[in-house]
Symmetry: C2
Subunit: 703 residues, 2 copies
Amino acid sequence: METLFHPKSVAVVGTNKVKGTVPHDILDNILKTDFEGVVYPVSPREKSIKGIKAYKYVVDVPDDIDLAILVFPSSVCHMALEQCGQKGIKAAIIISAGYKEVGEAGLAREKQLIEIARKYNMSFIGPNCLGVINTDSRINLNASFAREMPETGNIGFLSQSGALCTAVLDYAIAKHIGFSKFISFGNKADISEIDLLYYLMEDEATKVILMYLEEVSDGRALMQAARDVIEKSGKPVLVIKSGRTDEGASAAASHTGSLTGKDEICDAAFEQAGIIRCNNLEEMFNKAIAFAYQPPPVAEKVAIITNAGGPGVLTTDAAISNGLRLARFSEETTKILKSALPATANINNPVDVIGDARADRYTAAIQAAFEDDDVDGVFVILTPQSMTDIDTIATEVTKIAEGQTKPIYASFMGARDVASGVNILQKHKIPHYTLPESMCISFRTVHHFHSSLKQKRAGVPTMDRIQAELAKGLMDKALSNGREYIPEVETIEILKAYGLPAPQGKLATSVEEAVEVAEQIGYPVVMKVVSDQIIHKSEVKGVELSIKSAEDVKAAYQRIHENATARMPEATIKGIYVIKMISGSEEIILGIKRDPSFGPVLMFGLGGIFVEVFKDVSFGVAPLTLEEAHDMIKKTRAYKILKGIRGLAPRDIDAIAEALLRLGQLALDYPQIEELDINPMFVLDEGQGSVIGDARMILNKTL
Amino acid sequence: METLFHPKSVAVVGTNKVKGTVPHDILDNILKTDFEGVVYPVSPREKSIKGIKAYKYVVDVPDDIDLAILVFPSSVCHMALEQCGQKGIKAAIIISAGYKEVGEAGLAREKQLIEIARKYNMSFIGPNCLGVINTDSRINLNASFAREMPETGNIGFLSQSGALCTAVLDYAIAKHIGFSKFISFGNKADISEIDLLYYLMEDEATKVILMYLEEVSDGRALMQAARDVIEKSGKPVLVIKSGRTDEGASAAASHTGSLTGKDEICDAAFEQAGIIRCNNLEEMFNKAIAFAYQPPPVAEKVAIITNAGGPGVLTTDAAISNGLRLARFSEETTKILKSALPATANINNPVDVIGDARADRYTAAIQAAFEDDDVDGVFVILTPQSMTDIDTIATEVTKIAEGQTKPIYASFMGARDVASGVNILQKHKIPHYTLPESMCISFRTVHHFHSSLKQKRAGVPTMDRIQAELAKGLMDKALSNGREYIPEVETIEILKAYGLPAPQGKLATSVEEAVEVAEQIGYPVVMKVVSDQIIHKSEVKGVELSIKSAEDVKAAYQRIHENATARMPEATIKGIYVIKMISGSEEIILGIKRDPSFGPVLMFGLGGIFVEVFKDVSFGVAPLTLEEAHDMIKKTRAYKILKGIRGLAPRDIDAIAEALLRLGQLALDYPQIEELDINPMFVLDEGQGSVIGDARMILNKTL
C-alpha cells in the first residue's frame, strides 16, 4: 500500500498527446505538481510525450517501476496489466472505465484484472476511478485526472464515485480545505475502502477521514475497520452513504451495480461503529473542518458574539435546538464586557457588540469569552453593516484563536462584502459556516465524538445457559424437512435452549392432555392451534385467552379444532399449545433480520400500534455488547414507557437487553435463520423478567 | 403609504457631512441611485451637503415635502418630527435608534413619537430601522443606510431587524436576487408588518413576500393579512420567526423587548394561514427564488439530468425523501435519449449523460425531459469534470428554459470552477442550489402552495344547539366567586350548553340520590368526588370505576367520602358525581389555551401516554373551519389509530371535529377562559359520537 502513495517511479501506461483526454491529463498532472520521483510515459504510438521519452510497452522501461497507472481502454487494459506483472510492478491504479458498472461483459473483464493481479501478487486501486492524490510535499503525487491539485491538509478523502471527486475538489479548493490523501477507489475490485481505512489509520498526515460510499459490500468489515480506526488512532470517520431511499438505491444499482440493504439498518450500524453518517457533501465538510481545524470542546456550552440582535437570536435558537447550551458568564467576564462595550450593548450571552462595532469590540468580547470557565467554545457572528471592518475582524479572530484550547467557529452572514473576510478565516483554519445551524451541528458532532472516545467499548459478553447440543438437534430437525416457515412451538423450543424465557406450557394432543397441562401450570391459560400450515392463528379463530377452568379448557379445545378445520380444511393440526396467561405486562417485539450488507441484525420495538403507527423501532448489528443492547432500547421513545411513566412501575429492561444478547448469539450461530420474530414478548416489572408470548422463524434453506 | 415608497420630494432631517455615519450615508445613498424626485438636506449646522443647499429646520424648506427621513438622535428626534407635522409632511421614516429596544425611557420616547404622528395625521416607519428601498426605475429610492442598492426584482422583503437586512442585501447582491421593495420596519411603532403586507399585496412589482419577524404582536391580524394576500393576490408569504426556543425567545426579548408565545402554536397558526415558515435566510431565499423565477410545477414528478452517477443518486434520495417522485419517461422520450446519448449513458430517470458530456448532450436530455408529459419539472445536476464546458451548459440551460411552462432548477456542484456557470444561471433567473435537498424542498414548497391556492378556504360554520343564555348564566356563576379553577361538574355543564357531549349522570349529594341516578342511567357507572379544593381526584382515591349494582354504589359512595376526607380534611365535598361508564372507546384530549400572540388556540391529542411520550398533539387557532378541524386531527400520527388500524373499526372522527368547532366558539365567546381541558374524551365508533370523560377550566379573573 505504501508503494501506491509513495512511489519512487511511476509508469503512465496508455498515455497520449491529446490534451483534454484522461490519458494525457494524468501524465500532465503528475508533471505539473513537481512529483519527486521519476515518471515513465508508456504509449504504443509516441516516441516522447511532453519532451519525455516514451516507451512502447511497460516491459521496455529499463528501470524498476513502483507504480503503474493504467489508462488504456478496458478492451486492452488487461494485457497492459499482464505486462506490469511481468515487469514486476507490485502496485497499480486502474483509471479505465468499462467494467462492473457496464454489466455482464464488464464484470468478466474486471474478474480478469483480479486474476492477473493475483498471479503476479499485485495490488491495485480501481478500475473506473479518478485516481489518487498525495499532497505530502516530499512526494507531490497527483496521479489523477482532476482539474487541479488541492491544498495540503489533514483530511483524508475516499470516494467510490470518481465524478463526485471533481465536485469535492472544486468545493475544497474554493474554501482552502486541504487534504492529506485524496483517493478515488472506483469499483474496488482489489483494494477496498476497508484496506484504505486501515491505511489512513496509520497515515500520520491524516487526522480526519471522509468517505463517499454507494455500496456497503461487507458491512461487518467496515464496522470493524471504523472501530479500529477510532479506537486506535482517535480519528473520526465521516461517511456519506447514498441510496437512502428505494429509488435512490435503485438509481445506485443501475449506476454501479450495487446492492444495498435497508437504510435504517445502515444508520444503526454506522452509529454502533462510531461512524458519523452525513447526508451530503456540505454537511460532511462542515463537520470535517470542525474536526480538522479546531480543538474539540470539553462540553457543550457556547458563547455567541454578534454585531446584530436578530442573527444572535437565530444562532441561539440553532444552538438550543441542536443540543448545545448557552454559557453563563462569570461576574468577572460581565465586568470586562461592561467596560469594553458601549452601554447599549448586550453583555449577556448572546453578546451583542452592536452594529457599529469594529474589530476592537469583537476582540475584547471574544477574549473575555475565551477566558470564562463556563465557556467551552466561541461562535462569532457578523453582519456587514456600514461601520463593520470585516477583514480586520477576520484577521483578529485568526490571531486570537492561535494557541487556544477552546474552539472558535465563525459565521459571517451575507455573500459579497463578507467574501474576503471569510477567505481570511478559511485560510487560517477558522471553521466558517453560512448557517448557524451547520455551525451548531458541527460543534455538537465534534463534542459527541470526543466524549464517546473516552468510553471504551466493552466486549461482547459470553452467554451462560445456552444448551448448544439441544439447540443444534432442534435446529437440525427444523431444517430437515422442506419447510421455510417454522411455527411457534418449535421456534420457542430453540429460543428456550438459548436461555430465552419460554412460557410455561406444553403442546397437548388430546383434550385430556390439555386439561392436565392447564391444571399443572395453573389458570388462567391461553390455548392456540399448532399447525405447519396455519401462519395466522387468529384468522382461523385458533387462539383463546383467559381460560379459567378445566371445563373451559375442554370447550376451548373443541372450538379451536372445529374453527381451524372449518376455515382451513387442508391444514394438519398437530395439537393445541396450552400456556400460562401473563397479565400486567408491557408487550414488546424482538426480532432477527438478515441484511445483505450487515448480516444478522437485531430489532427491538414496543408492541402493538407503536411499531405500526409510530415506527418506533431500533436496530443493532449482532453481536451486541451489553451497553449496545441497552442503547437499542434507549433509542426508542418507548423507553420512557418501560422506565415507568406517570408513577407506573418500571419494567424489566435488563431482561430485554439479555434477550437481545441471546438472540444475537443465536443469529450468529445459525446463519440459516433468515428472520425470527418474538411478537409479543411480555415484559414484567423490574426484576421479574419477561416471557415469550409468540414466536416464529423463517429459514434460508439455500445455506 | 404610497407616499412612503413613491415620494416626489424627500427631506433628510438631521443629515451631516461625516462619511461613514448613518445621517450622512442615507443622504449619500439617495443621491447615488439617481432618485427621480428632489432631496432636501436638513442639518442645523451645515449650509450645504454634497453641494446641495441644506436647511436648518425642515419648516425652512420652501417647497412641499412628501417624505421625511429622520436621523437625529432619539433625544431630539421627536422635536424634528413635530416640525415635520407642522410642515404638513404626511409620511416619515424614523431611522434613529434608542427607543423601545433600550427599555423604559426609550419606550416613553417612542410613545411620544406616536402621539406627535397622531396629532398631525402622519404615518411613519420605524424607529430603529435601516430604512426603505424602492427599486422601481421610475423612482429609484434608496432611503436606507445599506451599503448598496440591490437589483430590481419581484421580491418584497420586510424585516424587523435592521442589522439582518445588511446580511440579506450582501447575500442577495452576490446571487443577483432582485427586490421590488426592501423595508426595514424596526420597532413598528406606527406602520406594522400587517400594514406593509397589505401594501405589498397591492404592489404590482411584488410577486413574492418575505418577512423576518422577532415578535408577533397581533397574531390574528397577521393571519388575516396573510390569508388576504394569498387569496386575493396569490402571492406567497414566507416568514422567518425567530425565538423558536425559550433561550432564543429570551434573547429576542432582551434585544427588542418582544414577548413571544409557544413556538408550536406559531407553527400551527402560520400553517393555518398559509404562511410558509422558514428557519433561516438561506432556506427563505432558496424558496423565494423558486417562486420568483420559474413557473409553478403542476405536480411533483421530476426528471433529473446529471453528468455523474453519485450526485444523481444523492438527488434521487433527496427528491424521494422530500415527497417528490421520479417521472417515468414515455417510449418516445426513451427513444430520443437513446439516440442523443452514448451507449454508456443511463437513459432512465435519473438520466446520466456521463462525465465527458458537453452542452449538446445536456441540451438534448433537458429538451426531451421538458417534452415528456410525465415530467412536471427538470433538475439539472453538474459536476465539473475535465471535459465539462460549464459556462456553455449554463447558457444553454437559460436558453432552453425560456418560455417553458414547466420549471427548471439547477445544482452545479463544487465552488470555484462552477462559479461563473452559477453566475450565468443566477443572472438569468434559473434557481440554483448548492444542495439537492434545498432544490427538492423548494420545488415541493412551490407545488404545495399552488395546489392549496386552488382550494378556497370555507367559512367558519355557525354551530347549532348552543344555549347561549344558559351558558352565560353558568359562566357568570363560575366567574362570580373568587375561584380560578373550575372543577368537573360545572365545566361540563358549560360544555353541554355549547352542545358538547356531556356524560349521562348527575351530581348526587346523598347515598340514596347516587343509587337513584345509577339506576336511572344504568350500570356500570363511574363515581367521582366533587370539591372545589380537590384538583387531582385520583390522588385522594376519589374515583371508582365499573360499579355494577346499587349495593356497590352505596359502598363506593361511602369509601369515596372517607378517602377524600381522610386525605384532604380541609376540602368541602359537594357530593359525588355519578356517570355512565363508557367502554370500547378511544381516549383523546381536547383543550383550549390562550396564546399571548394568537389568542384562543385549540389543542388535540390522543390520550394517555401518547401525549406524554410521543408529544403527538396538534394546535389550531380558533375559530376553525370544518376542514381545519379535520386537518388538526389528520396532522397527528394518532389519526391512523382513529381511522382504524389492523382491521379495527374506525372511530367517530366527525364527532371530534365538531367538538373542536364548538370549543372554538366557546373560547371566542368567553375570553376569560384561560385554559380548558377535556381529558379524556371518549370517542366511540364511527357515527356513535363521543362522550366527555372529565373536564376542568381555569379562568382569568383580571379580564
